[in-house]
Structures are given as structure tokens and as C-alpha cells.
């Protein structure tokens, strides 16, 4: 890794000023080797007090520099959203990486392999940026914003059920496919990631109202709908065809679980 200059600001406004001029914000740095190999200015955000998990009556807030391990072990996270975020975090590589990788870094990197992005999209999470303010995670991921700083992630406490599933060749590998489903104010949100492209919400599933009939029947219907709606690609972990078939089986399982 070739970094020309390393800066650790003590104020967020200083960090933003540098970022707006092209400096690269470093989260945990665990996946730095996957990004640019030459960085002019790197900004370390760990001195800005962005590592926290707070809870109010209506929201849970996660500071952008909170590590995946902190999410995995947090009692607040275990008690909210059916514990789906700790479960997701626990599935990610080894404890060494989870002690380093941050939730803000995962989102900023917009990584296709990310498990945590998939779950956050299903939970209808919001991101708060220093300049851009609050916006839906889906909107942020599809935007070209790269010169702003993620301050925190907000999740409303309006989720009655949530599940996460992933399929990997080994525990420490990236997912061949990952999936999360949640009931947000009674509406089903189903998200599929590692296709191997970035996680995507199924619009069809979102318009699928709580079904009359069994959860099994709903799972069967949605498995076909989601597999047809989303695009899948091939890489060393699996072919597009394999992912599509895997998706059908995982949708069935997730939908049944989330509706029950």
C-alpha cells in the first residue's frame, strides 16, 4: 500500500475539508488492499468519536467507526431487530477482521461482497453524512457521493421480524450469495447481495403484501419472482446459474422464517 501522507484529524470539519479536496477516508482499513493502491492523502477517522451504538425510543444509531465485532457483541444490537445485525456480523470472516472492519468502511466501500450492507438495506437503514445529511442507504449506494464523510447509520425501531442468510465455501471466504429479509411496518423488504454485484432490494418483494395463506406458499411464489427480477453474475465462487438457483432456495427459507 502506497500512502503518501497520513492525517488524523481531531475535528470532523477538518476531516471533511480534506475529504472534499480528494483525501481518502480510512475506516478500519481491513480491505484497503482491495481498493486504490496509491493514496495521496489518507485520513484516519478514529479520533472523531464515531465509535458508538446508541438507542432511543424510536431509533438505534451506530457510529460509522463502530467495528463489526462491537456490533456482534452489543447488547443493544442483540435486543433490537431480532438480533439480525449481530448474526450478520458474526458471519463475516474471522474475529481479527471483525475487530478492525467498521460499518462505515463497509458502506463507504460499497463492496459487492458485503454481508452487512445486505442486512442494512433490508432494515431500511439511513446514513447520515457530514454535508449531505440523512438519506436512505439505498440512495447513498446508488449515488456518486464520494467526497463526504459517513457519520452514522440510523435504523428505525419499526421492524417486527428480520433474518439473514449466506452461503459460503468456507467461513472466512466472501459469500457466494447473501440475503436478508425484514418486515418493516408490515412491508416485506428482501435484499440479495454478493450476486456478485452489490446488494439489491427486490422491488417485487417490496410490493408483495403480507400474504393470505401459508408462509411456505409465500416463499415459493417469491423465490421465483426474486430470482427472475434480479441479475446474477459469475466469478470464481459461483456461476450466475448457480447463484440464481441458490437464490430461489434461500428466498424460500428466508421468507418462511421472516413471516413466521
Amino acid at each position: 500500500m502506497n500512502i503518501k501522507e497520513y492525517i488524523k484529524p481531531s475535528h470532523i470539519d477538518e476531516a471533511y475539508e480534506l475529504c472534499s479536496k480528494g483525501a481518502v477516508a480510512i475506516g478500519g482499513g481491513a480491505f484497503l488492499h482491495l481498493g486504490k493502491q496509491v493514496i495521496g492523502q489518507a485520513i484516519d477517522l478514529s479520533g472523531l468519536g464515531l465509535d458508538y451504538i446508541n438507542e432511543s425510543d424510536s431509533h438505534v444509531e451506530i457510529g460509522a467507526m463502530t467495528t463489526l465485532r462491537d456490533i456482534e457483541t452489543s447488547s443493544i444490537m442483540k435486543q433490537n431487530f431480532k438480533g439480525v445485525l449481530p448474526k450478520t456480523a458474526a458471519s463475516i470472516m474471522g474475529i481479527q477482521v471483525r475487530n478492525v472492519a467498521t460499518i462505515g468502511g463497509a458502506i463507504y466501500g460499497k463492496y459487492g461482497f458485503s454481508d452487512i450492507i445486505t442486512t442494512l438495506l433490508a432494515l431500511d437503514a439511513q446514513v447520515e453524512l457530514y454535508l449531505g445529511g440523512c438519506m436512505g442507504l439505498d440512495h447513498y449506494l446508488n449515488s456518486s457521493i464520494d467526497k463526504d464523510i459517513i457519520l452514522k447509520i440510523l435504523i428505525k425501531k419499526n421492524i417486527s421480524s428480520a433474518v439473514f442468510a449466506c452461503e459460503k465455501k468456507t467461513h472466512t471466504d466472501f459469500s457466494i450469495l447473501n440475503m436478508a429479509a425484514a418486515l418493516v411496518e408490515g412491508q416485506l423488504r428482501l435484499c440479495v447481495g454478493a450476486r456478485p454485484g452489490r446488494a439489491k432490494l427486490s422491488k417485487g418483494a417490496m410490493y408483495f403484501l403480507k400474504p393470505i395463506g401459508s408462509a411456505a406458499a409465500a416463499g415459493e411464489t417469491l423465490s421465483i419472482l426474486v430470482a427472475e427480477e434480479l441479475q446474477f453474475g459469475s466469478d470464481i465462487r459461483g456461476s450466475a446459474e448457480y447463484r440464481r438457483e441458490l437464490c430461489k432456495a434461500m428466498v424460500k427459507k428466508c421468507v418462511m422464517e421472516v413471516l413466521q
Binding site: 475535528h11 484497503l32 475487530n99
Partner: protein, 164 residues
Amino acid sequence: MQGHGKKMCNGGATVRIYLTINNRKRDIETMPGAVLYDVLKDCGISSVKKSCGTANCGVCTVLLDGKPIPSCSYLAAKADGRQVTTIEGVQEEADKIGNMMNQEGATQCGFCTPGFLLTVIAMKNELNHPTEDEIKNYLVGNLCRCSGYQGQLRAVQKYMEVSK
């Protein structure tokens, strides 16, 4: 701690960081993009090994403020002001687990052993009476190509029993 609110640079080419490595304070000048593994090697720490270089295998594990991290993928500058522990700093504990691993046939080439032992020590400090599943989950990031893991599991269970 140097670096707060300032550029941690010396002539634009290097950074100065302060680490406490195995209870010894060190003043280190290094490159801004240097990873902790490289700095530890430069400091004469020979126990830390590197294998995948992508934070996957756990071989390069060291403890940063008591928590296991992949030193091959952690910028040294980020560790400024913090405590780094390697096997050299926990000889007594390492001997204890090492002996149990020998008794259980849990080690062969030994390349992954330093990282593995440090993760076990961190687990002992973090978890009370971990179940078999908790042990497996905690150690999943430490790969071993020789042992098959069963001997390691037996040795760790023994160590956890006598350590509590």
C-alpha cells in the same frame, strides 16, 4: 498522542508513531502506508508470521489493546499510541498452551501457532467458560493446513479449563 489535528509527517515521506510493544515503549519512524506486520519485523519481533496478506488466514494475528487483529492489513499509523502484544510478550501463557498443544498432537509445522495462541489468549480474557461452538467461532479466523483442528480444539478446551 502525536497526530491529533496534525499531519503525522516528517518531510512528507515518513510518519512518527509511538507504540508500546510487549510493554516496551517504542518511538518509530515508518512509511505512512506501512502495515503493522512490517513495523513489528523492523522492530525485531520475529514470532509474527505472514501468509495470505489479505486478513484471511490469521497467521499474522497480534493483540492490539488486547484484541486480536490482522497485522498484515492494519496500518501501523493507526496503531499510534496503542499497546501491541506478540508471543514474545506472553511467554508464560504461550508455553502453557503450547505444551497442551504438543500433548494433543495439535501442531505440525508451527507456522500458524503464534497467531493461534494469541487468539486463544484473547478468547480466555474475553469469554467465561466458552462452549465448544463459541471456541470454534472465536478461532475460525485462524487457519491451519496441518492439524485438522481436532487436536487444537482439545488443547484449547484443556487450557480453558485449567485457566479459569
